[in-house]
């Protein structure tokens, strides 16, 4: 009986798959089997072949386009499942990214055959419709037919291998990837950053997430890979909300590059808050890292001089006053821990206020950097012996300073100083530990910071209780003075680095003034040390002179009027943008080496009357910096027949009117008149 059926089935030769052509896309409907049994599930494939340059769309088309659709007309007993979509290409076009198929693709659909399906030939019909785009978009559709024989046998079709090969291109289940998603921050407006994390092979360096389509929100195409513990991939995506609440769940495909091949993993992830509980067990490891990191901070160039000084203090005191040494050790530790608590408090405060907090973030504050540069310079000068620090101790002099007793306040201050100086030097280990801490609850932040502090003070505290361990050091003597001076140089190097940081926030003339201020500070410190501290006559006068001197230069450096025209960087787009908004545009093409430009700026541009006029007429001020001769500016200058700068343009408010070209040498009157005209 079975044999007869098989012969019958084989005898039915009408398995020809349906095919149809639209303008630029050829389609075909194929089945994985020519014959199947009731209860089986067979796979149907809609093949789309696009002409070169043309593309069709994924289930989420992205910013434009439309997903391909399949409308089935199936006989009773056959049910079609959802379309299974192979991994698409991400196509960035201008600012609008779409997810597309280029070349060819096969969309797969499982067809379930009911267990009570009657034997015989079946005709499976589908209408496929799609949007094909190249330079223009054209809708396409095709009515397609495929046939299958229901019987007691399953027979793969000639296309079964092709279908199987496309199945390998489908996103795989994300089992074992421990994928997670959480909001990185509170929303600002309609945008909110989302973090996606999953375990990835070591080789995978590229990662992305292709979101499923949604009407109420959009996971934007731009992404950033953010640092994560080894073995984990973590990316940041921006989510834009159209209406309603923030999504509780994100679905789509995690994409990663491994061995030159892209792999996709289908996920539906609940969106939680930043993870905490899952990593309790690694908290101990992180605390260990924090402690070791703190320990290592001791030998970083920013901290070493301070610590070395302390050790010198030990050498001097350990034999005579072990008790005093222990006490000072604990006070120093107290200074460090209190400073770290303050840092932890700042981090928590910023985090709750919704700001981003990072290690060394205080270096983003120009005032902090300037003060720290001055402080470090003074510490270096102190090490060189230019002047002495006598916080709470006895007055020291060059000969007796090292042997003198250090006061409690001095020890505490040293702890604070060590912490302040330590922040720019993120020691190895500390990076991981801090990255972990900053994403955690306030309690853990405090715990981590205190552990780092404990690591930083550990050697000192241990040595203060066991001075015998310092035996490897030579006897106190003249070498200590030399060592102290040598330690001044790494400190000076730190000052140079900080100066560079500070200069980044200052303009050129202020950088010069700041440098001169540091020199004046050094001179003042010397006057103070030489005449006020060690001198015998006119000590009051010496103090006054040094304070006035440092203060005076400081005032020159920092108290200049900060008022400036709100320059924006010149670009053709910036000009167009401003003109589209019906605003007059003032363009200054200038260069640092162009003397005429600088004179113009001083006399006729960066002056109160012009500033006021620009504000009054709501003009946009654009600065084209020609110092390094960028090509874009060379082109623009030649458009106005200029081989170089200066070139000052004033675009009238009325769109379409040509810009006024101002003369090479300016007067305030010329500029003001042109601006007045532009506003009409």
């Amino acid at each position: 009986m079975q044999r007869i059926l098989t012969i019958l089935a084989a005898g039915v030769l009408a398995f020809a798959a349906g095919a149809a052509n639209a303008a630029h896309t050829q389609t075909r409907l194929v089945l994985s089997a020519t014959a199947a049994r009731p209860g089986d599930t067979i796979m149907a494939g809609l093949e789309l072949r696009m002409e070169p340059g043309w593309h069709t769309y994924w289930k989420n088309p992205g910013a434009s386009g439309m997903a391909t659709k399949i409308a089935w007309q199936l006989p009773p007993g056959v049910t079609a499942g959802e379309i299974q979509w192979p991994l698409p290409d991400k196509l960035p076009e201008a600012d609008l990214t779409t997810y597309v198929y280029q070349g060819e693709v096969m969309l797969l659909v499982p067809l379930k055959l009911a267990p009570d399906l009657k034997p015989g030939a079946l005709e499976l019909k589908a209408k496929a419709s799609w949007l094909e785009c190249e330079q223009i978009c054209v809708p396409g559709s095709a009515n397609l037919t495929a046939r299958i024989v229901i019987g007691s046998d399953t027979k793969p079709s000639p296309e079964a291998a092709l279908i199987a090969s496309w199945q390998t291109k489908l996103p795989k289940p994300a089992d074992g990837l421990s994928a997670r998603a959480w909001w990185e921050q509170a929303a600002s407006g309609d945008l909110r950053p989302l973090i996606l994390e999953w375990t990835a092979p070591a080789a995978s360096k590229e990662a992305d997430f292709f979101p499923a389509a949604s009407d109420t929100f959009e996971v934007q195409p731009v992404f950033e890979i953010v640092s994560a513990e080894s073995g984990l991939l973590r990316i940041r995506k921006m989510v834009k909300k159209f209406e309603g609440g923030w999504p509780k769940e994100i679905s789509g495909v995690l994409v990663q590059q491994a061995g030159g091949e892209r792999q996709g993993f289908a996920v539906i992830l609940p969106v939680g808050n930043a993870p905490t509980g899952a990593r309790q067990q690694s908290l101990w490891l992180m605390l260990f890292y924090a402690f070791v990191g703190g320990l290592i901070l001791n030998i970083m160039p920013c901290v070493l001089p301070v610590i070395a000084l302390k050790i010198l203090g030990f050498v001097a005191q350990s034999k005579e006053e072990p008790r005093q040494v222990r006490k000072l050790g604990l006070i120093y530790a107290g200074g460090v821990l209190v400073s770290f608590l303050v840092l932890a408090g700042i981090v928590i405060g910023l985090k709750t206020a919704g700001h981003k907090a990072g290690w060394g973030m205080q270096f983003g504050s120009p005032v902090f950097v300037v003060c720290l540069t001055a402080l470090v310079t003074l510490v270096a000068l102190n090490l060189f012996g230019v002047f002495e620090i006598n916080l709470g101790g006895r007055v020291m002099n060059a000969a007796g300073g090292l042997a003198s007793r250090h006061g409690a306040a001095g020890a505490f201050f040293n702890g604070v100083l060590a912490t302040v100086l330590a922040t720019p030097c993120t020691a190895p280990f500390l990076g991981t530990a801090l990255g972990f801490a900053f994403a955690e609850t306030p309690l853990i932040v405090v715990l981590m910071f205190l552990t780092i502090g404990a690591g930083l003070t550990a050697p000192y505290v241990v040595l203060s209780w066991q001075p015998a361990w310092l035996k490897f050091l030579p006897q106190p003597g003249a070498w200590m003075e030399k060592f102290k001076i040598a330690m001044g140089f790494p400190m000076l190097a730190t000052a140079v680095w900080l100066f560079l940081l500070a200069a980044g926030n200052l303009d050129k003339s202020r950088t010069l003034w700041f440098g001169l201020f540091l020199v004046a500070l050094g001179l003042a410190a010397w006057i103070w040390g030489e005449f006020a501290q060690r001198g015998t006559k006119h000590r009051g006068l010496a103090m006054a002179v040094s304070i006035l001197f440092a203060g005076g230069i400081g005032a020159c450096a920092f108290c200049q009027t900060p008022d400036q025209i709100a320059w924006q960087s010149w670009s053709p787009a910036a000009v167009a943008q401003a003109r589209a908004a019906s605003r007059p545009v003032f363009v200054d093409f200038t260069a640092d080496w162009c003397v005429t430009c600088q004179v113009n700026k001083r006399t006729s541009i960066e002056i109160p009357s012009v500033r006021a006029k620009l504000k009054e007429i709501n003009a946009v001020a654009l600065l084209g910096d020609y110092t390094r001769l960028p090509d874009s500016l060379t082109d623009e200058l030649s458009r106005f027949g200029r081989a170089g700068v200066p070139l000052v343009l004033v675009y009238p408010k009325a769109a379409g009117e040509p810009p006024m070209v101002l003369p090479a040498v300016l007067t305030p009157g010329v500029v003001l008149e042109a601006l007045e005209k532009a506003a009409r």
Binding site: A63, L96, C133, Q135, Q568, S571, A580
Partner: protein, 199 residues
Amino acid sequence: MKRVLPLLAVLTFAGAAFGAAEIGQPAPGFTATDINGQTHKLSDYQGKIVVLESYNLDCPFCANHFKTGAMQELQNEVTSAGGIWLLVNSVNPKHPSHRSTEAAKKEWAAQKMKATAWLDDSSGVIGKAYGMRTTPHLFVIDKNGILVYQGAIDNQATPDHDPRKARNYVREAFQKLQAGEKPVVMQTKSYGCSVKYAE
């Protein structure tokens, strides 16, 4: 500071160059010329409800609304009630779908447009200032110049549905504004073809 400022400016502009229009904020101002050579300035329409429609008839999604006549009906509803409807065509001049002034005038007549004007935005300035992502992509600006709706024309993202049977967000927004209320849906994901901006 000087070094930081240009960088900030660049960043600001990178942001402003695309998608600056935000719901609840003043709509970006512009001045543009229409196909008849007349100048239109957004600020001149203070006190009127303004609808902006990014437009390209070669795009099947736009064509679906025009060939069925549904878009013209909606244009008529808005303009006959004192509103302003501006077609914004941002297709770049090198693209096959770009229309010369003459071709545009013919298309205007053939489609029996009921809009106020067809703005030539082949530079893409208006489109980019508003963040027009697709054709069609619609924007509704209230009488105070505040953007109150941006997104799709309706809730059927296909090039072959019956627009009259779909939920039309622009009509909804316009009627709410007429009644002195805020639109219920203020933002949706626009659908359609890419705009074909100049590079």
